[in-house]
């Protein structure tokens, strides 16, 4: 190792040689922060006039968004600079002449590696801090800095610098593992996308399992990509979800990657310059690791709309793997005659794909038959996919985790029925075709004593579901959690919608106070109504609430909900429970063809008496909780005098009797 003084000379010399990078970075960052920032600030200030104090506050909010850690534009630019910087620092390893030149000098690899990191870091941080500081100064001069400016600055610098280090280090590892620039670029792309692709493939393969529950496994796979993680973090910052813990973990990962890069650099055979891979012995291993998930991913995408996806997935995966292996061998040797080299690796890859597909198709892991012993389970949760639109939830996993219970006896019995259902594959098929009638789709969460949670989807008879829910809802707390009513809050941005038999109203134009009043009344009414009632009775209206975080709640309103009805009336929304004869202009009965399920005969009902009798049968179009929709219904179309058309379903026999 050279002396300390000469190390800084090395760094200085490297910066001088890569001055083009520093110039480019400086111009790019100047364009983003002071130039674009000042321009946008000026535009917003110009339109500030009439908005007064509110306008200044919104401008400060904008400054916080732009100069904060949630700036996607800057994240994109920083990522680009990180990749370019890594290649410019170490791409010399891909040229034999350059390797001879740089490595013949009396300096250790450790010094060269450290020099490249220090100079690249310097060439990022200095332009970033200078351009950022310029924007902050401009904003300060205009008096539009947010109150927590110091916090904002620290967070922004921390996020951008740490993620720069991560992206840079991962790219350096890509360069270390390869011997040609183009291969280095491909390797970098692989590193940035491999784990998300892997998770995608696992998700797709798991769809072979009948009891697999995709909705609870919708984790953000991009989290596992360095770039994806960066943008996801920036997105979280935009939503106000900054996490120092996560950022420190990213820093730790970056440090680990720096270490990995150093080890690779230290042991990299320099004769690998201009070869495809730096470590030739890893060739077969890399081929298998790349070809298997990639072919499965491509096959999944190509067969997503196939009538026989499994068959075609097998064919495309196997052929795809073979093709990829041949291509990779060509890339290794750059010789068409050598594409058949590495036969063992190719065979392992093809065989591997076949084994994986077989394993998932035949469920050799016993995924679908999984049922833990009752004494091994500490808690369970139940989510019923209610097809009548009651209490719809947006995030299954969150719901299940919030509804875990120790008193899970009835849920376990339901799960047992579901797990032992021998027709679950057929039920799944019918469910997705919209033909599942006698059963309901339920998602069960098993929390095992070792604290792992497993999720399964079952198709269980309505009777069992009703029985289970009745038993569980004997506990008032469970009932409230199950339907999620208690946790609804009328936030500032929340929206309320109401719909009754006449499809009146829609988005409610009410004050915050009125929202609180209606919701408070509903919560009290909900305590009074039993689950059994909900399973027997049709609601007369539906109150829909979309809260600040865009969660939607569909709340049925029953005729017994007097407090709710009063509050709605007080807010100017009186609920109608029937269609009045005097409001009807026309009525038509539509018979649906049982085979094709398409509208067939249409019969106009003009007789006033008959119309009245039919109107008495009509109700707000929602079946009771967990009730099966009667597909033997007829459709009644009522045209009101204001030309609105309402559609109702009604029992065919009852209508036929009236029309006789």
């Amino acid at each position: 190792m050279t002396s300390k003084i000469s190390f800084f000379k090395l760094v200085k010399d490297d910066i001088r040689q890569r001055m083009w990078l520093m110039a480019f970075t400086s111009v790019l960052f100047l364009c983003i922060y002071p130039v674009y920032g000042a321009m946008e600030l000026e535009n917003r200030l110009a339109s500030l006039g009439a908005e007064g104090a509110y306008g200044v506050e919104s401008l400060k909010k904008w400054v916080e968004e732009f100069a904060g850690s949630g700036n996607f534009f800057f994240a994109g630019a920083a990522s680009f600079i990180a990749v370019v910087s890594a290649f410019s620092a170490f791409a010399y390893l891909h040229s034999k002449d350059k390797v001879d030149f740089y490595h013949s000098f009396p300096v250790t690899r450790g010094a060269l590696y450290a020099k490249a990191y220090v100079s690249s870091f310097f060439m990022f941080v200095v332009p970033f801090v200078v351009s950022y500081a310029m924007f902050i100064a401009i904003a300060a001069q205009k008096s539009v800095l947010p109150s927590d400016v110091f916090d904002m600055v620290i967070r922004t610098i921390a996020v951008q610098v740490i993620y720069f280090l991560l992206i840079y280090s991962v790219t350096v590892v890509s360069v270390m593992l390869t011997g040609k620039i183009i291969m280095g670029v491909l390797a970098a792309i692989v590193f940035m996308s491999y784990v998300p692709v892997l998770f995608f493939v696992i998700d797709e393969l798991c769809s072979f399992f009948v009891t697999y529950t995709p909705s609870v496994h919708t984790g953000n796979h991009l989290f596992f990509s360095p770039l994806g993680n960066y943008f996801e973090f920036v997105g979280n910052c935009q939503s106000g979800l900054f996490s120092w813990t996560r950022l420190l973990l990213v820093l730790l990962l970056a440090v680990i990657m720096i270490g990995v890069g150093y080890l690779l650099y230290r042991f990299r055979p320099l004769e690998a310059a201009e070869s495809t891979l730096a470590f030739q012995k890893t060739g077969s291993f890399i081929k298998v690791l790349l070809s298997v998930p990639l072919s499965l991913a491509v096959a999944s995408v190509m067969t997503s709309s196939s009538v026989h996806p499994i068959k075609w997935m097998a064919v495309i995966s196997v052929l795809g793997t073979l093709l990829l292996c041949l291509t990779i061998e060509f890339m290794y040797h750059m010789d068409i005659k050598k594409i058949v080299c590495g036969k063992i690796g190719t065979a392992v890859a093809v065989f591997g794909v076949m084994v994986i597909l077989f394993a998932f198709y035949k469920d050799i892991f016993g995924y679908d038959s999984y049922l833990p012993k009752k004494d091994k389970v500490s808690q369970m949760a139940l989510l019923v996919e209610e097809d009548n639109g009651f209490f719809v939830r947006n995030a299954d996993r969150k719901y299940l985790q919030a509804n875990m219970t120790d008193a899970f006896g009835p849920i376990y019995a339901l799960a047992e029925e579901g797990a032992k259902n021998t027709e679950k594959a057929l039920d799944k098929e019918q469910y997705f075709e919209g033909k599942l009638k006698e059963k309901l789709r339920c998602i069960i969460a098993y929390k095992e004593k070792k604290d792992t949670t497993k999720y399964r989807t079952y198709y269980v008879s309505r009777e069992t579901v009703k029985k289970t829910v009745v038993q569980m809802c004997k506990n008032e707390e469970y009932k409230e959690k199950m339907f999620g009513v208690e946790k609804i809050e009328p936030g500032r941005e929340s929206e309320f919608y109401i719909n009754d038999i006449l499809e009146n109203y829609g988005n409610m134009d009410i004050t915050q106070e009125q929202k609180r009043s209606i919701l408070g009344a509903y919560k009290k009414d909900f305590k009074d109504i039993s689950v059994e009632q909900m399973m027997e009775e049709n609601p007369i209206a539906r109150l829909e609430i979309v809260d600040d975080s865009f969660e939607t709640y569909m709340l049925p309103v029953y005729k017994e909900n007097e407090r709710t009805l009063e509050s709605l009336k007080a807010a100017g929304y009186e609920i109608q429970t029937s269609v009045l004869q005097e409001d009807v202009k026309e009525m038509e009965v539509i018979v649906y063809d049982e085979d094709t399920d398409k509208p067939g005969n249409r019969e106009s009902v003009t007789d006033v008496e008959k119309q009245q009798k039919i109107l008495e049968l009509l109700s707000y179009q929602s079946d009771p909780l967990f009730a099966e929709h009667d597909f033997n219904d007829m459709e009644i179309m009522v045209t009101l005098k204001d030309n609105r058309e309402l559609y109702f379903s009604c029992n065919k026999e009852k209508i036929a009797n009236i029309l006789k």
């Binding site: 190792m1 000469s6 040689q17 001879d100 013949s104 009396p106 300096v107 055979p269």
Partner: protein, 300 residues
């Protein structure tokens, strides 16, 4: 002194170097001869600490070279490829070398640039191959390292420049401890400068010998004997490497001191006997044939 002990290096399935043993004494010009693909550049890269040998050991003045800045500071390697920093000039290249070699003599370097007719401020990407080689050699010499490895450095130089460079080498050797090691496939190029040569062939070193010693102990003699008996007697008493007869003219390449060889021949009363000068090529051809290699294997 550079000690090469049992060095082997393989690239995939290609055995580039196989069990090389050699010693390069300091203060003499060492020539590394070998055909294309013999392993000269590979050996240089290992000696310079760029590549790591698979087996064996390299010691430069008792120090290992690989990943040892101290050992590497004794060496300056001029690769065949002659890479220079992008957008650079001879002047800035000198500064770059000075950063790594504290003893770099900038003043003398610039003086010699001028003498060679090279503008120190001109961009190197406008230079011809020969001019780049000149700059490369000057950088190497003025780094003032103890050992200078020149990989086919004289290629691309015109005869005048070649002589000028040779003079520089000799001049440096007289002023300080300086040992150039020159690799080439051109024997004629090395003949008048090298004192010691090593022959590399297919990754192995056939021999390393002192050039003068080789010339002193190997002679080409043309003679005519009076009768076959005398001829046979003479051939029996001489250490013949090669002999050729055209008519009655016998041409021999024989080992031994000149005086001794002539004495043996004169004892048989030849009608004619004359010692002819042997070129380095002829010496090598003879030596390699003795070693069992066909001359066609060597394209000099």
């Amino acid at each position: 002194m550079i000690e090469i002990k049992g060095v082997s290096k393989k690239f995939g399935n290609i055995q580039a170097l196989s069990d090389i043993h050699a010693t390069i004494q300091e203060g003499e010009v060492f020539g590394l001869i070998g055909s294309n693909g013999a392993g000269k550049s590979t050996l240089f890269r290992i000696l310079s600490g760029i590549l790591r040998q698979d087996e064996g050991e390299i010691l430069v003045d008792g120090q290992a070279v690989y990943e040892n800045a101290g050992g590497k500071s004794l060496i300056c390697f001029l690769a065949d490829g002659s890479y220079f920093l992008p957008n650079t000039t001879p002047g800035s290249m000198g500064e770059h070398y000075a950063m790594f070699y504290p003893k770099f003599d900038k003043a003398k370097y610039e003086k010699n640039l001028k003498e060679f007719g090279i503008d120190k401020n001109r961009k190197m990407n406008t230079f011809s191959k020969g001019m780049k080689k000149q700059v490369s050699i000057l950088l190497g010499i003025h780094s003032n390292t103890k050992y200078l490895f020149c990989d086919e450095t004289f290629d691309g130089l015109d005869p005048v420049m070649r002589q000028a460079v040779k003079s520089l080498f000799i001049s440096e050797m007289m002023k300080r401890p300086f040992t150039p090691v020159i690799a080439s496939h051109n024997l004629r190029e090395l003949e008048d400068i090298c004192e010691h040569v090593g022959l590399l062939h297919k990754g192995g070193i056939l021999f390393t010998k002192d050039l003068d010693e080789m010339k002193l102990n190997l002679h080409k003699v043309q003679c005519v004997f009076q009768n076959p008996v005398s001829e046979e007697e003479a051939l029996k008493n001489l250490d013949i490497l090669k002999h050729e007869k055209r008519g009655s003219l016998l041409t021999l390449v024989t080992r031994g001191r000149r005086e001794k060889v002539m004495q043996i021949i004169q004892e048989e009363n030849p009608l004619f006997a004359e010692v002819l000068p042997l070129t380095l090529e002829e010496i090598f051809i003879s030596e390699t044939e003795v070693a069992g290699y066909d001359i066609k294997d060597f394209i000099f």
